[in-house]
């Protein structure tokens, strides 16, 4: 359980600064630090158990079907990284407190920082491959947010995007690799993975899996040739560079390689690839660190170089090399984070990071100068500092391997070369900033930073010296734990400063001497390099991104000309081709079911239906006539439903038809009355060919289905309707009971459509016609007498019918949908007959709440069944006896149906009544651009 807390506390901690942003900055910084500190203390509290040789684990199922567990482990490797992440993270927090300008949103910055911290802790502790990958991606995302923190700067945005693209692509490769690994072993559990090294090595997919995992790790840890994102990530605020891009995130790839070491590091392939990539990165990074003139650029490339060193050590893979790798992780994090922080201090105090403008700061900032010199010396590997010991171990490992056969001597030579370069750039860093006289005055006059801003640097510098002097007592225990976790067995080792005069010592001495020499001569080197054209990774990257964008655009442009007509025709063409292919593959169109007879009524109906459909098209330029034809189609469809045993559908279609026609007529009032002749003849021909082709496909499909056996699950509904749902009208029982969840969805959609329409009508700019298309003025006879009289008499009758239809719905054709539509029609008739003014005065309520109450009521009915321990929307019913009325039946489905009724009434009136009110002072929003005109609509 403690493990869960260690992993979760920082994650919860993300919320603290997010909510605490309104606090004063000191207080906000302080409360932000509380949870990470607790997690750090909890980690330390586990140390005794770990020293006893235990590996602590915690697991609960998360998504068992995927093999994803919420599983954490705490072994030596996790502890090593947890201490780095949380410890340095807290120092960075203190530093950032002083670094950020007062007006910057520190709450957001802290939140991102803690998010990163928690995801990194997650990687260190994950005990499940998938969980590990999840946290891995989270670090990419939080790093993106942090690099792009100064989002007003173009270089920050581009750097963030580049880092996300590279590490994100690496993350995808890693996922593929981890899935392959999981597939080989049949589990994503870390213990099983680590124990199955033999199985993995024997699998023929091993090279592929290894390649993918390494791709992910190299991209994250900025190994050659994916190193280019790291220098550009330096556009981030310096605390971020110090934390993510030197101490922790870039170590995630290395952590992964160390974590999976027992599982995948067995083969020759691993040794060769990882060592050579690491060596290349080491030299490449060191060379560019020597050439850069930006302070953070130097540190970034030196980070690349040191990451290469650690990778090479993991590649060599002997116990000694692994020990050296882990030790160097620790040492590098210590001195590099501190170096970044002092670079930030210099930047902060002088206003520049350019080496050519800096110089002579020794006098203005003596303490910073001393600290930076110590740290740079540790980076260079000067004896009596921590960097010396791990670099010595690196030389030993490089000299001791024979992986390259006859040319194995190359490795120690390259290692020494790397050492020489690292001495040279470290020396240059210190000398150019603090000792060399300045060529020009820096933008700000420099002085020492606030005491506490320097404190993290001081602490880390002291650690460098102490570990350098007393390696065994200070780091021995931790390294023992960590090597045990990586190698799977305890290993005998002794950390010491002095091993006697031997080859590694000689290599160190050569590196120191030649490094000083290189620095003295580096001016000539730079002049020599001027002859080469520099390649800016950002230009290459941005160029390729833009190139891809252009290609995509050009490709898209072939289809996309922002014309809806073209999209429609492409869509329909695809449908014709796909459905046509399906038809083509069928052996024969007609099935074996007996055919029905055609009688005179059917034939007449079908001909009328087709005629009115075609007439709708033929007259479509005269919109009103077209609309009348459309209404004929609707009525005939309704009759079709009635003819083929669907009374519910017939009723619904009939009432919807009325509402639709009123709606379309109202809308037509505000639209042009005629459609201009616009499309060319070929266009019309093409469209009609397409429409006819699809029509034929649909007809064929319909025929094919109709002539085949259509046995369905209908029997279940018919058999269970009365005993299970308590209703004789199966269609209604399906709607309110068997498939009530669907219906709930539908009325929700209906209510949402109503609300959306309400919003669309808001501030609508109207085109108000004063005459029809022939130039005749609209009739001044607003409310015809007969209609007024009849509608008023009809209203109670219609409402009664609606109530009747509603009540009988469960057993006879009817129900909430139909009753709702009838009520809506009755009320709309009132609006039409008497005008909005009159109706508004009598129907003084909003329709939105009605629709929402309907959906709410239906939902509550569903939830009600939970109270009785049944699943959502289980209905129940019973028979009751009242003295006068006699036996009757009540079902909870009735309440649900009432909800449907209310939703339908509310939504329909919300649409129609509001549309009708448009021309009156009651319109949904009175802030229109056109004053309400004098004429009424209906």
């Amino acid at each position: 359980m403690t493990l869960l807390w260690i992993a979760l506390l920082p994650l919860v901690g993300v919320l603290v600064p997010a909510f605490g942003a309104r606090l004063e900055r000191p207080l906000c910084s302080l409360v932000t630090a509380v949870l990470p500190t607790t997690a750090l203390l909890l980690t330390l509290a586990q140390l005794p158990a770990l020293l006893d040789g235990e590996t602590l684990r915690f697991a609960v199922d998360w998504v068992p079907s995927l093999g994803l567990e919420l599983a954490f482990r705490l072994d030596g490797l996790s502890v090593l990284f947890n201490l780095l992440i949380l410890g340095i993270g807290l120092l960075i927090l203190l530093y950032a407190h002083y670094y950020l300008a007062p007006e910057e949103p520190y709450g957001r910055f802290y939140a991102y920082l803690i998010l990163f911290m928690s995801s990194m802790v997650g990687i260190a502790m994950a005990d499940n491959l998938l969980l590990l990958w999840m946290f891995w991606e989270l670090t990419s995302l939080s790093s993106f947010l942090l690099i792009g923190f100064w989002s007003h700067r173009s270089d920050a945005r581009k750097g963030a995007r580049m880092a996300l693209a590279v590490t994100g692509a690496g993350g995808l490769a890693l996922l593929a690799g981890l899935l392959l690994l999981g597939d080989m072993i049949g589990s994503f559990d870390m213990n099983q993975v680590l124990a199955s090294g033999d199985v993995i090595l024997a699998d023929e997919r091993y090279p592929l899996a290894l390649g993918l995992v390494l791709l992910g790790a190299f991209a994250k840890s900025a190994q050659f040739p994916f190193h280019f994102w790291l220098p550009h990530a330096m556009a981030a605020p310096t605390p971020v560079s110090a934390y993510l891009h030197s101490a922790t995130m870039v170590k995630a790839g290395i952590l992964l390689m160390a974590r999976l070491h027992p599982a995948i590091a067995g083969g020759e392939l691993w040794t060769l690839v990882v060592t050579l990539v690491g060596m290349t990165t080491l030299l490449y990074g060191a060379w560019f660190a020597l050439m850069k003139t930006d302070l953070k650029g130097i540190l970034a490339f030196s980070t690349v170089s040191h990451l290469g060193l650690i990778t090479a050590l993991l590649g060599i893979g002997t116990p000694m090399a692994v020990l050296a790798a882990l030790f160097h992780i620790l040492n590098h994090a210590t001195f590099k984070a501190a170096l970044f922080m002092s670079a930030g201090i210099i930047d902060h105090e002088t206003g520049t990071r350019d080496l050519s403008r800096l110089g002579g700061l020794r006098r203005a900032m003596p303490i910073t100068a001393l600290l930076t010199s110590i740290l740079a010396a540790a980076m260079a590997g000067v004896p009596l500092l921590n960097g010396f010991i791990s670099k010595e171990m690196f030389f030993t490992s490089a000299a001791g391997t024979d992986m390259l056969g006859g040319i194995s001597w190359l490795l120690p030579v390259l290692a020494t070369l790397g050492g020489i370069l690292s001495v040279a750039y470290s020396l240059r860093l210190v000398h150019a900033v603090f000792f060399k006289p300045a060529r020009e005055a820096p933008p700000k006059s420099p002085h020492e930073p606030p005491r506490l801003m320097r404190a993290p640097v001081e602490l880390l510098a002291v650690l460098c010296i102490l570990v350098g002097l007393l390696p065994s007592p200070l780091a021995g225990g931790l390294l023992d734990l960590a090597t045990r976790a990586v190698l799977g067995e305890p290993m005998e080792f002794h950390l010491a400063i002095w091993h006697g005069v031997n080859l590694p010592l000689l290599m160190s001495l050569i590196a120191l001497a030649a490094g000083v020499g290189t620095y003295l001569g580096h001016r000539h080197l730079q002049r020599f390099l001027k002859g080469f054209k520099p390649v800016d990774a950002r230009l290459v990257f941005e160029g390729s991104v833009q190139c891809v964008g252009r290609y995509a655009e050009a490709w898209l442009g072939r289809f996309d000309n922002a014309s809806l007509q073209r999209y429609m025709s492409l869509l329909l063409l695809t449908a014709v081709v796909l459905a046509g292919l399906g038809l083509f593959m069928m052996p024969n169109l007609a099935g074996d079911q007996p055919r029905g007879e055609i009688d005179g009524v059917l034939l007449t109906g079908a001909i009328l239906l087709m005629f009115s459909g075609i007439a709708t098209v033929a007259t479509h330029r005269y919109r009103l006539i077209s609309l009348l034809m459309l209404s004929m189609v609707g009525l005939l469809v309704s009759l079709t439903f009635a003819r083929f045993s669907a009374p519910d559908l017939a009723l619904t279609q009939l009432s919807v038809e009325v509402v639709t026609m009123i709606l379309l007529m109202l809308a037509l009032f505000f639209l042009p009355q005629k459609t201009p002749r616009e499309s060319s003849m070929p266009r019309n021909l093409r469209d009609s060919a397409l429409a006819m082709a699809l029509g034929m496909v649909i007809a064929s499909l319909n025929y094919a289905v109709l002539t085949r056996d259509n046995a369905s699950i209908a029997g279940f509904f018919i058999d269970n309707s009365v005993p299970g749902g308590g209703g004789h009208n199966v269609v209604n029982v399906i709607l309110v009971d068997f498939r009530g969840f669907d219906t709930l969805g539908e009325i929700t959609v209906l209510a949402i459509a109503g609300l959306a329409i309400l919003k669309l009508l808001n501030r609508l700019r109207l085109f108000m016609p004063h005459s029809d298309s022939e130039g005749r003025l609209w009739s001044p006879d607003r409310y015809p007498m007969i209609l007024t009289t009849i509608s008023q008499a009809l209203l109670p009758l219609a409402l009664l019918v609606s109530a009747f239809i509603f009540l009988r719905g469960h057993n006879l054709p009817g129900g909430g949908f139909i009753a709702g539509l009838i009520t809506a029609v009755a009320l709309i008739l009132l609006y039409m007959a008497r005008g909005v003014e009159w109706a508004q005065a009598r129907l003084d309520f909003q329709y939105q709440p009605v629709a929402i109450a309907g959906v709410g009521l239906a939902t509550l009915t569903g939830l009600g069944s939970w109270l009785f321990g049944h699943p959502f929307l289980t209905s129940s019913f019973g028979h009751f006896h009242l003295p006068v009325i006699g036996d009757f039946e009540l079902a909870t489905a009735m309440i649900f149906d009432l909800g449907v009724y209310l939703a339908v009434v509310g939504a329909t009136l919300m649409i129609l009544a509001n549309l009708g009110k448009l021309t009156t002072p009651h319109r949904p929003s009175k802030e229109s651009n056109i004053a309400p005109p004098s004429e009424e609509t209906s």
Binding site: A562, L564, Q565, S569, R595, G596, L602, A606, G613, T616, V617, H620, S626, L630, V633, G634, V637, T640, F641, R643, F644, S645, A646, T652, V659, T660, L663, A667, L671, P672, E678, S679, S688, A691, G695, I698, A699, S700, N702, Y703, V705, L706, N710, S712, A714, F717, N729, V730, V731, L735, R739, E746, V749, L750, A753, I757, L761, L764, L821, T908
Partner: protein, 115 residues
Amino acid sequence: MESLYAITTGVLSACGLYLTLRGRTFPVVVGLTLLSYAVNLFLFSMGGLTTDGAVVVNGDGDYADPLPQALVLTAIVIGFAMTAFAVILAMRARGDMGNDHVDGRKHEDREETRR
């Protein structure tokens, strides 16, 4: 009977589809409505064409398939909501763009991209 039904559905769909390919909003809305009639007829017929078999259960009998009916019933109502939304969108587009073309662009913009 089956062939007649299928042909009717096909003709109605073709009419609706032709209208949806027009360039002005109102015919498109009319076309969508017409198409939804055709689709409803099509879906409805998935349960077969039964005469005198309304699914009001009273003992045994030859009933029509209630499931497509229930689905089409809601489809009709949703179809209305969709038509309403589309037509009011058309009104809004006319108000904001000054024309009733389906591309939803102001006149001068459209001329530009055509060039």
